[in-house]
């Protein structure tokens, strides 16, 4: 059936009513994502949004697309599987820093090197919010929380450097307090052919009293152009203690599905008898 499609508007993307705390950074991330999709002329039914578990992962409930709110740490494998089956869809994976860099870290590094065409938004508040304030893999050294009462003795996971070193083809970092820049980065990430990572500083106003809006306004250094080499991008990150916003590194290369060169038809299975001719052909292998 041919469908007459109007230009998408922000209203089309309105999902369930949010339960985030007033002032939560995630509101702006959601607004930025929806704005980016509208700007790109993408309709809700053309998008799959896969999330893990945590406050930020509720974005798939609050944004009206084909959403899949999965389990803790597994947004990336579910999202990659969905993209494999439906390459014509735009796939967004989203979640928090605990979801992506803690329980889901194993999937993160492999998604980076695999380079399936999807966009991964990590809403990084450096705290476990939904469980009411425990240290996360992105919490700073000496960060005091309910589980680190004498301060966190681990150092934060340098997710961006890991991604860049591991062959990522699009790495950006944004701040939900700078919606305009963030939206541009999300748009570019969606347009990028391959795995795109946007780590977004998204302050938790309830539990993280260190990494606040003011903290980022005071510390963030803006990069206007992607850096020319991976080494340079990692160096710049290190130089500023990770407090950088902008697209850090981009490389154009064939994504995973394109490299396989398969004429994808995974969804085309129809009701009816099995293909007898194909059975006879394949049986020869067993004769």
């Amino acid at each position: 059936m041919s469908v007459e499609l109007k230009q998408p508007t922000l209203k089309d993307f309105k999902g369930d009513t949010s339960t985030w705390c007033p002032g939560c950074g995630h509101f702006s991330v959601m607004a930025g994502l929806q704005r980016a999709l509208v700007n790109l002329g993408i309709h809700p039914h053309e998008v799959i949004t896969v999330t893990g578990i945590g406050c930020s992962s509720k974005i798939s409930e609050y944004t009206r697309t084909y959403g899949f709110h999965t389990i803790h740490g597994r947004a990336l494998p579910v999202a990659q599987g969905a993209k494999m089956a439906a390459p014509e869809m735009h796939v967004i994976a989203a979640g928090g820093d605990g979801d992506g860099y803690g329980i889901g870290a194993g999937h993160f590094v492999h998604a980076v090197r695999r380079n399936i065409d999807l966009t991964y938004l990590v809403m990084d508040n450096s705290i476990y919010g939904l469980t009411k304030g425990q240290t996360s893999p992105r919490s700073q050294h000496d960060f005091v929380s309910k589980t680190t009462i004498k301060g966190n003795k681990e150092y934060p996971l340098d997710a961006l450097s890991i991604a860049i070193a591991n062959g990522a083809t699009f790495v950006a970092q944004a701040f939900s307090g700078d919606v305009k820049r963030m939206t541009e980065m999300i748009e570019k990430a969606i347009q990028h052919k391959g795995f795109s990572l946007v780590n977004i500083f998204s302050p938790c106003v309830t539990y993280n009293k260190v990494n606040t809006y003011d903290y980022y306004r005071d510390h963030l250094v803006t990069i206007d152009e992607p850096l020319s080499t991976r080494e340079e991008a990692i160096r710049v990150l290190k130089e500023h203690g990770g407090n950088v916003q902008g697209i850090l590194f981009v490389e154009e290369r064939d994504d995973f599905q394109k490299q396989l060169g398969i004429d994808w038809k995974m969804r085309d299975i129809e009701n009816g008898p099995m293909d007898e001719q194909m059975i006879r052909e394949l049986e020869k292998e067993f004769m």
Binding site: E61, A85, E270, N271, I279
Partner: protein, 586 residues
Amino acid sequence: MASIRKLEWKVGGQQGEGIDSTGEIMTKTLFRYGYYVTTYKQFMSRIKGGHTNYKLRATEHPTRHAGDDVDILIALDEETLTVNRSELVPGAIVIMEGKDVNIAEVEDYILATFPLKAIATELGNPLAKNMIALGMTGALISLPVEEFYTFIEEQFAKKGKAVIDSNKAAVDKGYSLVQEHLKDHVKTLEAVPKNPDRLYISGNEATAFGSFMAGCRFLSAYPITPASEIMEWMSVHLPAVGGTIMQVEDEIAGITFAIGASFAGARAMTSTSGPGLSLKTEAFGLAALSETPIVIVDSQRAGPSTGLPTKHEQSDLYHMLFGTHGEIPRIVLYPSSIEDAFYVAAEAFNLAEMYQCPVFVALDLALSMNRTTTPRIDASRVVINRGKIVTPEEAQKYGEFIFKRYRFTEDGISPRALPGNPYGVHTTSSNEHGEDGYITEDPEIRTKIMQKRLGKIKTARLSRPYYVVDGDAPVMLVGVGSVRGVIEEVKARLAEEGIQVGGLFIQQLHPLPVEEIAPYLTDKTVITVENNYYGQLLNWLKIHFPIHASSHKITQYDGNPFKVGRVYHEVKELIQDVRRTQATHA
């Protein structure tokens, strides 16, 4: 010259000596000669070294068990003889690697040593010692040598004439060695009618083949014995039909990639064994609560933990029946033969989509890895049914801004809109949700949607949920998977003595077809035969039936499949016990 109508043959040696391929050549040769073949491979969790063997049983009629005995043993080292001595029948012939040619009667068998490696080296191809042994086997059963030639030409076609000729020469040498030294022991394996309408296939291959034909286009998995062959087979065939396998980073990704692909509209599966199943467990609940179809194949091996990674067991039944926190709808299937593995796997995809839940296909190592003769595929037995997927027209009729993915319906199954459908946009969630998919903690909705979800699978039925033979017998032997082969043989042996027992082979464990199988389990002596400690099958039946007090389980969990003889003796004793008790009460 004595004529024979069956052969039980075994080749053994160190891993890395080509035992597996030698066994395959012998088996496939007799398969093409017209015999029914069943096989069992014994191997260890290492690449080189350690005893390994390949058992072949060739019979005139179909069987599903590789047999207890050995008529001819090819021992490429002394350990092979030590390990397999107990299986030799009186008059068996053992051909063993040794320093000199020596033929001796030892106890009740013939021990013939030959310097196989040295002879092969003399022929110019030290690797061909196994081919010499195959030639000797052929000569001992008077198999026309051409039967081997055809196979060699096919097998080594890519390697060129020189390799073909040297292998033929090795086989010829085997024939002449028998003529020279073992002439008195030659028998004739009767020729039987050749039948081209048969397949020679393993359970893993049949499972992959069935999945493929049912339209499975995505398999994500992690390598694990004894399931890897499913992924390997699919990897060869999927690209041509627009699909692919993905070998992913871990077992959790194995199942969650497949759930993602299924959500997006593909028929998707994952395949694994026990340790992998444990890791995937949380995602059973994800598929179930989000009502996303998924097929999970568990080729069982001996657990727990790493256990005996290359050995046989049936100890994951509890895990498949109960695994994951909370309560979920699920369907658990277990093909009772290699032939059925094709159909059960194919139907698993229908059931997964029709009932929108995880479907488990249980296999066990003996069923998975060994090849046997089966009839050709009957294409008419499975018709693809994708369940309640709505088209854009159908979705549009609902006129909903948020499509009610979890709509309450009479049968509890909600229409499903696939991503891309302009009128079906919705969120699917692992959180408890209402009809619209949005999170809710409302007690009433929770209660209602739990009832919908858990109730919807009641009517799920495999087209052959069980097989029964002699269902009216007072004693029923019950088993799943490869154990069917054991029970069939035990039953036949008892029948020869006038003892009648029935056989029930359950292929659908959950939801158990309670009413259908009740007549075969109530007011009878039920004996389950199972490869685990607890008697998982018997206990599962006990939840559903008032199982008779005289019922019993025969278990084995040493890593090996049952021998027919052992089960036969135990069943016979149990029957006598029951009779004695009954006589006392009377």
